[in-house]
Symmetry: C2
Subunit: 418 residues, 2 copies
Amino acid sequence: MVEEMAKRAKEAARMLAQASTQGKNQTLLRLAELLWQEREAILAANHQDLEAAESAGLSPAMIDRLTLNEARLASMIEDVRKIVSLEDPVGEIFDAKKLPNGLQVRKQRVPLGVLAVIYESRPNVTVDAAILAIKTGNAVILRGGSEALNSNRALSSVVRRALEETGLPAEAVQFIDDANRELVNRLLKLHEYIDMVIPRGGAGLHKLCREISTIPVITGGIGICHLYVDDSADLEKAIKVVRNAKVQRPTVCNALDTVLVHRAIAGKFIPPLVQTLAADGVRFRADPQALEYLPAFSTPVVQPAGPDDFDTEWLSLVLGIKVVDGLDEAIEHIAEHSTAHSDGILTENYAHARRFVAEVDSAVVYVNASTRFTDGGQLGLGAEVAVSTQRLHARGPMGLRELTTFKWVVEGEYHTRA
Amino acid sequence: MVEEMAKRAKEAARMLAQASTQGKNQTLLRLAELLWQEREAILAANHQDLEAAESAGLSPAMIDRLTLNEARLASMIEDVRKIVSLEDPVGEIFDAKKLPNGLQVRKQRVPLGVLAVIYESRPNVTVDAAILAIKTGNAVILRGGSEALNSNRALSSVVRRALEETGLPAEAVQFIDDANRELVNRLLKLHEYIDMVIPRGGAGLHKLCREISTIPVITGGIGICHLYVDDSADLEKAIKVVRNAKVQRPTVCNALDTVLVHRAIAGKFIPPLVQTLAADGVRFRADPQALEYLPAFSTPVVQPAGPDDFDTEWLSLVLGIKVVDGLDEAIEHIAEHSTAHSDGILTENYAHARRFVAEVDSAVVYVNASTRFTDGGQLGLGAEVAVSTQRLHARGPMGLRELTTFKWVVEGEYHTRA
């Protein structure tokens, strides 16, 4: 059954690749209308999921992510309209040149083909993945969490209707309407039909995809993020940046996990930092040297760091804190413990900033800014498909362009190779 | 053992990433000297391999690929000097912008990290892979075919000596000096240390890598290539292009496998084509309609195409030939049978050329040129790492740039996210 879906998706992808930007935008605008027009059916389907989730005793956080209502539908519709306004990367021509033998060579941006998106029980991802795919001329196979099955069925059928009503192939959006986990394993082997797998979920899902997929996978979204506070930093401003990176939205991958503090300013910086962030509810895991500066604090606000604490993505109001001898030790600590997502230095020292940028090899390296900026919207991409922490194809926030590839076009006059 | 090698490679990669272009070029120039200086030891090691290969009864073609001599060493040294002359992609800055909030954002090209290259018994690949890696600041783990073990050991030790003598880490080049096949399986699971796998070999090796690797793999190098001869083509010139694509070097992936001929010109085109190429030793596999134009030819020059013949990469002087009703059928045939490596149209019809380029989605699409141009050197990349037929990261001929990734650098003034 997934094989058949993938085959149909590949056929549809060939048609969608030829669609004009205007045609794809028409589909998206029709989708925006239909999402509102069909809101009762969508919310009724979501209600079914919510009832089942409540009797199954899902956590309030999971139920919140599962919940749709008119306000959330309206915001989904806003997202659709926003994607319409973005530039279509398909068709872009680059690296064009005429070779000495007269051959004209260029690269031309084309859709990737068929995407598979595997995600948790968040119905908004169904629409998000579908509209990113449609805008970039890709077909997409959607596999959402089982708790959202009714919501996802309703939403994907609206997307397919929008495609059909505007003359694009409905088969370009395939929804796996079956909670059987075995189907994911089979899906991940269909490299003949599927060109890219995007897992949107936790570390376990990424691991599964990396280990069993024969299709290229975009792994990412796991961030053990660091800020190093240099001895030259403006300490008052540094507290504000550390606070923003930790507190503004602690549950996401670009939130801060560990702050590294130069020994020379540890006495001046650590106590006020802990005091300020403790008021926000932050709990600290301190290395022995940092603990020395914190006699006034005790559990639960400050406790000694355990052996794995500097290798933990907290996703909550917990912050590791460690004293280092200087830039070298900070860079070494980051090389050893970072997931190469987002790491930064706070400094007034020009040479230190340059060395940090040169030697820290993370997807996004910061000087004097919060790690929370690692986001397609914040960094000017208009949309965000995922944050990649792998090194091939795309690194860091991925926008529409990262859902495309290119072909070489070579034009001659019956040229033969000598 | 491979785990330890990979770990050492990763450590060396961090150092190599900081090396200057000048420093890397010095290493390469020293390597060029050492390859000549140490020629006796290298050729003696190669002689051992050749003796073993001969008593094992290897085919003449395999023995030829295994053979080194002074002329081939000189050509290897030429290749090293050529890589020195190419631009270093590392450090390139692109997509730089200042955001409305004042953040300065740029992307900066950096090495991929650690490459693993798995290849057949061709000692020249040992040097080729090592110099491409060094130039781009990557560490590399080399796993060559067992028949070349002595040659590869000698060559890789010269490379390591060149690194050491010029102040770069010798551990950046690791040679797996062990023919145990199980080591490849273990190597392909070391995603913690290795960033990209490049298989250089046949379909079986690519399949193995795709199926068991947890590291991103560049698959490619398998080409079922087509030329479609449109009814508007200049037939005399078309015969020359088809001949070049088939005959010039039939054993490589960009050689022609199938020629598709428009029905309207089949009678005028097919007999002279077959006659011309038969003189070069080409044998044809013809579909029933093409056969009708070839009563004057018989086996072995022309025989009926078998059921798999249009799905075969010939790598020899065999050519499939098929009559089609026109552009639509040609495009459909290519969509069904091509490996999306290199496909072309020969035509004088502007609209047909445009449609072919738009609808045929191969790594390299040609208008009025031989498929033999699919090559990094021919298309102006200066060097060729591999020809990718996958869609992520790199497609078609890969040059130095395709051995790099980038990091985002974000500089602010203690910016926090609102």
